[in-house]
């Protein structure tokens, strides 16, 4: 009797401890992966204007907000809410990937045949149908390829695996590129020599109003 009363708590304690550990791990995993729960699926707003400085402002909000493979929503607190996501894995974290950032900044439609301008709120969860390679090929109604020397502010450079937008054209011959570079780097602006890199082509979007 005594033995039973003394021995019984051990497995119970172990069970409770295991349960709490599993619960905390699950909670931590959910908290880490749940940024996109704060995003929405609101319809985009059809807009009649699309300016290049407006595009710069839009990308500025995305800076410091992290990177998410296949992602497309972020807030504006200058913190990556889901750091260290696994590479090349969609894990519902904060930020866009390179092509998602270009898609939203260029106010494109999720329907490739539509050439209009659609404002996507930063917290709207959308990536768009284009990969970096597709932008490079000028796929989609609004997109086209640009001779590299003509690439201007908010035009871009795309390779088979990456795409970024020109924020400033620097006098050195390089450019200030705003880009969602990768999980380890996030989304920010860097000086890049894509203009002289043969693996990159110039890309543009029809429809800028100024």
């Amino acid at each position: 009797m005594r033995t039973r009363s003394l021995g019984a708590p051990a497995p119970a304690v172990a069970f409770v401890a295991s349960f709490l550990l599993a619960l905390s791990l699950t909670a931590a995993k959910m908290a880490r992966a749940a940024f996109q729960d704060t995003c929405n699926y609101a319809r985009p707003q059809l807009t009649y204007t699309m300016t290049r400085d407006g595009g710069q402002t839009y990308t500025n909000v995305a800076r410091y907000e992290g990177y998410q493979w296949g992602g497309g929503c972020w807030n504006n607190d200058d913190v990556d809410s889901s750091p260290n996501d696994p590479p090349q894995t969609f894990s519902r974290g904060e930020g866009a990937d390179c092509s998602g950032l270009v898609f939203k900044t260029w106010k494109e439609s999720e329907h490739p045949a539509a050439g209009g301008r659609y404002h996507w709120d930063k917290s709207r969860n959308v990536h768009g149908p284009y990969t970096a390679q597709a932008f490079r090929d000028g796929d989609g109604e609004p997109n086209y390829r640009v001779i590299k020397s003509y690439v201007y502010v908010m035009d871009g450079f795309a390779s088979s695996g990456h795409v970024g937008l020109v924020f400033f054209r620097a006098t050195s011959g390089a450019d200030q590129i705003v880009e969602a570079k990768g999980e380890a780097y996030g989304t920010n602006m860097w000086t890049r020599s894509y203009r002289s890199d043969s693996s990159y082509d110039g890309i543009g979007r029809y429809g800028w109003t100024s």
């Binding site: 699926y41 493979w69 296949g70 090349q88 894995t89 969609f90 990937d97 390179c98 092509s99 998602g100 999720e110 329907h111 490739p112 045949a113 969860n125 959308v126 990536h127 768009g128 149908p129 284009y130 990969t131 970096a132 390679q133 597709a134 090929d137 000028g138 796929d139 989609g140 109604e141 088979s160 695996g161 990456h162």
Partner: protein, 235 residues
């Protein structure tokens, strides 16, 4: 027959029942129109090959796709057009060419490259006039491609979007079945490469994603695994 095959046998019958039910339901729905027939021809107009009897025994409404493994014939019009959009092809490159009902593809791995490349077509040329409406590059890891590299830019002649994705087959898989709206499209695993599959079902433009319902068959027709692949446009 090894032990693993024996163990999955019960799943085979359950899975077969579910797929048969799905096919029957699709057929019943299609019965309201004239679209209930299983396609007899592939995208290029050729008749669909006969499906393996071992698979047909467990799955109804199967349409067999065509797969060919060969060295790249750069004189071929389609191969040359793919090479123009996706560099890395030479006469020494081994290609896997596939033709399905709504999509066709070329998959290849440039020599010693850590990635796969490929071209997709759906019968409607790209805006630039290429017969290939999509191209993809996929990074290779130990288990195949690390991402399915979904492409949803191709459209069929009716204007619907056709999704393409690479699927990593398990080691024992000899065929992959992809559930379409009214039939199951069967792909032969070939060339030791991931299988580029296509589908008109499950494409969601609003989330830039597509869902593929896949069943893997072993050489004896046993169902090895069923799964749902939700692929997203990325990178």
């Amino acid at each position: 027959m090894d032990q693993l095959a024996d163990r999955v046998e019960p799943r085979r019958s359950r899975g077969a029942a579910r797929w048969a039910l799905a096919a029957a339901a699709a057929g019943a729905l299609a019965g309201c129109s004239d679209g209930g027939k299983v396609p007899e021809f592939l995208l290029d107009g050729s008749p669909a090959p006969s499906a393996p009897q071992s698979v047909v025994e467990s799955t109804e409404r199967v349409v067999m796709t065509r797969a060919r493994v060969s060295r790249a014939a750069l004189a071929d019009r389609l191969v040359a057009a793919c090479a123009r959009r996706m560099p890395g092809l030479s006469t020494a490159t081994i290609l896997v060419e596939r033709v399905g009902v709504s999509g066709a593809s070329i998959t290849f791995r440039p020599r010693a490259a850590p990635h796969l490349r490929g071209c997709d077509r759906s019968g409607v040329p790209s805006e630039s006039g290429s017969p290939w409406c999509g191209v993809s590059i996929g990074k290779l890891g130990s288990g195949g491609v690390t991402d399915p590299r979904l492409g949803i830019l191709c459209r069929d002649r009716a204007g619907g979007n056709v999704a393409f994705a690479w699927v990593n087959p398990s080691a024992r898989a000899r065929w992959l079945g992809v559930e379409q709206e009214r039939y199951v499209e069967l792909y032969r695993v070939a060339g030791g490469l991931p299988v580029r599959v296509s589908s008109r079902a499950g494409v969601k433009l609003e989330s830039s994603s597509a869902t593929f319902r896949i069943v893997e068959f072993a050489a004896d027709g046993a169902r090895i695994r069923e799964r749902e692949l939700v692929a997203r446009v990325a990178g």
